[in-house]
Amino acid sequence: MDMKANKKKLGLKEKYAHMTRGLDWQTTYQPMDKVFPQATFEGIKIHDWDKWEDPFRLTMDAYWKYQAEKERKLYAVLDAFAQNNGHLGITDARYLNAVKLFLTGISPLEYVAHRGFAAAGRNFPGVGPRVACLMQSIDEIRHAQTQIHALSNYNKFYEGFHAGAAHQIERIWYLSVPKSFFDDAFSAGPFEWMIAIGFSFEYVLTNLLFVPFMSGAAYNGDMATVTFGFSAQSDEARHMTLGLECIKFMLEQDPDNLPIVQKWIDKWAWRGIRVLTLVGMMMDYMLPKRVMSWKEAWEIYFEQNGGALFNDLAKYGIKVPDCITQCTVDKEHISHQAWCTFYQYAHASAFHTWLPNAEEMDWLSAKYPNTFDKYYRPRYEQWREMADKGERFYNNTLPMLCQVCQIPMVFTEPDDPSKICYRESDYNGEKYHTCSDGCKHIFDDEPEKYIQAWLPVHQIYQGNCWPEGTDPTAEGFDPMAKVLEWYHIENGKDNLDYEGSGDQANFAAWRGAATQNT
């Protein structure tokens, strides 16, 4: 062995070159285009994969080292949380309904992201993106696991945490919204996947999901969620960078890629923004202590930060997506429209709802001076009146859904917040309805894809949402009770109002026991 012991350590760039790029090879038993069959069908032209830049230059050995460090930190906090009854330190058990929505709606997406990035990594002929996708794939399964693990602690004490990650994502009506977003991306090719998830979701939108959510969790005393959230988020900077590099790489490789990339940006910006309706509602209604309004978060993270990004991409010919005009109107409405929806369908939801109290409504008026008092306060006041008379309003009929985003058709016309926005398309002799110009545009571009959508309301009516062996012709058959059973929602426990719930009673009793000697 003549290795020189005093040889200087490799620099970051050299090490990355050797341990990443240097590990690639050209296949000889099979032609490269057979080994990478998904590399060209989307129309993206790549001439030189070696031009791919990875600014983090992370090698696998360093990756394991830092990820292990993150896990150690995370589990130290989770252990402390469990040992010290951390669940009693939150502001109010009402807050946990936001966490239930996170566990059921977001954590399963982490798992799909894991699968999707594994597939993307497999399908890119270039070693740079392949290694980056591999790391992201491992990050994403870590996110799914740590989230489920952290929140399992709440499952010991509170309702609604028992079936989220396993069953509900494939079944519950509102969870089809995030699920269909990822299904749509995963069933596209690897380049579109990268724009959909790597760019639109990770770079443009993830800040809106994680940063306010985790700050909100911290503000509400939920150390378990803050810790897994920030642990996941520490990978996110790398994911965002991957998304941005991927888009720049496509645009630099061939001018013919521009229109394809632009189309995907337009589509996935809108798809992502619709999914974030749920986050808007969480920020404005579900946190007992609020960090900032949805509108404020939108302005900071989308308008300012997204604006900087699109300025930067302008040199490649990329334009800001058309849907931004509509978003500027929507930012003052969507969180309220979403909460009004969950309030009236709370019997079919796996978390509790409530009417905002007077102080909360004043906060909303102050944050939404143009819209809240005019359109939304009157709704809450009328519902309050009904509830006070013992006639709490639950909507008894299934809603019409958008064929693309799968959200009930709750959104209003861009120029008239008093009118529901109806859009429709005809395809192969059948009508398809969408909630907006954005969703209609997406449908019309690929109708063959969206006609297959698994729309929860239609599936219920087709009789596909009951437990196996259900006989709908049996005497006294109650279809909605059977749907809840199939949803794994325990009627009277997981759903309905927070006021009067088991969570509310238990939290009060346990917190009392924790602070008194009686």
Binding site: Q38, F41, Y375, Q382, M400, V410, S418, Y422, K431
Partner: protein
Amino acid sequence: MAVKALSEYNFPAADTQDKFHGNQLLYVGWDDHLMFCAPFAYCIPPSTKFSELVEKHLPHSFGRHPEWAKVDFGKAVWLKSGQPFQPDMNKTLAEQGLKHKDVLRLQTPGLNGNGTYF
């Protein structure tokens, strides 16, 4: 534009009428009444008379609204796919061309939750 795919891309629609056990879908929204967050989806036989829709199905869904009792169906305005539509109470959905997944909007001028759109 067609879906770009590795092989032929042709899959059946998920919600064709044959999957609804003899029923059809019909969507109905009541304009200016956002107590109901979205239009409703009904799954009913094409042989349903329009009068049955108006006297049975709609009241079941909309009945809890304080203004529902004030709706005068003699004066109500209907839109189908956004275009004026004149329903015949005595005809069935099928007889008046209301097809699977058609959408109706009920407009009741003068009623709008006293200006709140509730």
